[in-house]
């Protein structure tokens, strides 16, 4: 029994803990054992087994006294290495944060901790969350637990690639990720797990290493829709320390998956039928609409005319914000310092050696589009386009409650396949970026396997702060899809 505990969902494990079938310590030990056995995936940058067992024991003690905290108490989770964790190395998968041990805890990871969740370690990711394949990490790529037909190593997607791989490989019951343009949803699709990006403002950004502040949002990666609801509950909530955190109490998300979709109006945006999309993705998309219809929803065609401009606008807005946010890495206050003859020299050396290729590329693009003489042509233009993208969604949501789209234009690709072509890599996020630009919640649900036996996800997008509808529709998809795909080794 004990060896299979890491295969339980959060909901199942919560029940087992409540009934006393096993302890959090046993559950945690099962995950730690699985992590040990699957170290070749490189899913974690830092493992924290001692801390995990300490928190698991504390959870068991609380439970024994009848003081269990709720659905996440005693549940082992992984945390993306973008969340600052007190006393635990935090790297953002960058050389420039060498040795950085925060003296504080991010609000999201503190919320999880305070809900009794047991942190197993910090997951690998693309450097500063910039990437769609987890290959830009200073700590090396993560391997997907899924294998290509030819036995090739596949990318888990990114940037929350370590989190997605860890959930898919049953190394943890759930993982915290972050999503700026698709960094939770795309790896969830690639790894065959559920990934939820909440509405901008639902989860606090305080203590999370910043990439693009107007887009960054934390969310859960889990094996089921119900688990995503349970984990989001613990992560979300108003935080006065983040001025963009919404002053709203989170509703009871765990009730939403069971609410059904009878009478729900589901929009199919015609602009998401892009050139070159695999036929099997289009087929799955149609199947998804059929499933929702059979569950009682109404399917309505809608138009989001500015969709094709979301990605280029994103690649101005996000690098611009990144170039400002990453100015703080100067070799003075934390992380790497590479000495130089003068202060300027020290800055140049530190940042030249500390940032990887993709991060340098984005910081330079950002600095350029913000520079005198180009600001209006690029940055202001992109922000105005962003207004039009958000307006498209507002109009669509006058006639529908939720939108259904594919999550990504392809299944997982091989490691190394797209590293030489930045734009090809950026196109991975073509379906996830529009909702990010508008600040809307989105979820990827594993819906089927392609011809090579690799998972494909479908994405749902809802109105701002309507994660409940998102979860109801996602549950209907999950139930109909009956996705039982299991990564090869598991």
């Amino acid at each position: 029994m004990t060896s299979a505990l890491n295969h339980l969902t959060i909901a199942e494990a919560g029940e087992g803990l409540a009934k006393g079938d096993f302890t959090s310590e046993e559950l945690t030990a099962a995950c730690l054992k699985a992590m040990d056995a699957q170290r070749q995936l490189n899913a974690f940058i830092t493992e924290t087994p001692e801390l995990a067992l300490k928190r698991a024991k504390a959870s068991d003690t609380r439970r024994a006294k009848g003081q269990a905290l709720g659905a996440m108490d005693g549940i082992p989770v992984a945390v993306k290495d973008l969340f600052c964790t007190e006393g635990v190395l935090t790297t953002a998968a960058s050389h420039i944060l060498d040795g950085f041990v925060p003296t504080y805890e991010s609000t999201v990871s503190a919320n999880l901790r305070d809900a009794g969740a047991v942190m197993l370690g910090k997951t690998n990711m693309d450097e500063f969350a910039m990437g769609s394949s987890n290959e830009t990490s200073y700590y090396g790529p993560v391997l997907s637990p899924w294998k290509g037909k030819d036995g090739k190593d596949l990318a888990p997607g990114g940037s929350s690639g370590g989190s997605a791989a860890a959930v898919a490989a049953r190394l943890c019951l759930g993982a915290a990720g972050t999503d700026t343009g698709g960094s939770i949803r795309q790896p969830a699709s690639f790894c065959g797990v559920v990934g939820l990006k909440p509405t901008y403002g639902r989860c606090s950004r305080w203590g999370t290493v910043a990439f693009a502040s107007s887009l960054d949002q934390a969310g859960p990666l889990t094996r089921t829709v119900l688990d995503a609801a349970i984990m989001l509950q613990a992560m979300a909530g108003h935080d006065p320390k983040d001025s963009t955190s919404a002053p709203l109490d989170a509703p009871d998300f765990s009730k939403a998956p069971g609410a059904g979709v009878k009478g729900l109006r589901v929009g199919i945006p015609k602009e998401y039928r892009v050139d070159g999309m695999a036929g099997e993705i289009e087929d799955l998309w149609k199947k998804g609409a059929q499933w929702l219809k059979q569950a009682g929803a109404e399917i309505i065609g809608v138009s989001l005319p500015h969709s094709k401009y979301a990605l280029p606008a994103y690649y101005i807005v996000a690098p611009a914000e990144a170039s400002a946010n990453l100015a703080r890495y100067d070799g003075v206050r934390y992380g790497l310092r590479v000495e130089g003859d003068s202060l300027d020299d020290m800055y140049m050396n530190t940042r030249g050696q500390g940032f990887g290729k993709e991060v340098r590329r984005r910081v330079l693009i950002g600095a350029y589009v913000l520079s005198a003489g180009f600001y209006d042509a690029y940055y202001a233009k992109a922000q105005k386009t962003r207004t039009l993208i958000a307006r498209d969604f507002e109009r669509a949501f006058e006639s529908v409650d939720v939108l259904l789209t594919p999550t990504a234009p392809s299944a997982a690709f091989a490691i190394g396949e797209k590293m030489d072509d930045p734009i090809a890599m950026y196109l991975n996020d073509v379906f996830t970026v529009p909702a990010s630009m508008a600040g809307l919640p989105g979820i990827s649900v594993p819906a089927g396997l392609n011809g090579d036996g690799l998972p494909l996800g479908l994405q749902l997008i809802a109105k701002a702060f309507d994660e409940e509808t998102l979860l109801s529709a996602a549950q209907a998809l999950e139930t109909a899809a009956g996705f039982e795909g299991k990564a090869d080794a598991f």
Partner: protein, 95 residues
Amino acid sequence: MSLDKETVKNIAFLARIKTPEEELDHLAKELSNILGWVEQLGEVDTEGVDPMTGAAGAALPRRLDVVNDGGDRESVLANAPERDGGFFAVPKVIE
């Protein structure tokens, strides 16, 4: 927009990122490609459209102007690559 080597060199200096001379040509090509691709935004009619500066509600919350944190020098300095007493230490900037 096509960027030349000198422009890239200047941006890299503005961003304080040391970039080896031999990488500049390749970088100029790469950045030009990306900028060329984003320039399709030129097709979008944004006449009279307000810029969207963020996804959160428009009004920033206020709080009382009171001291609620601070006085924690050790914690602030804990990760300094180099410190001198209670200060961050940097290469000499004033002769």
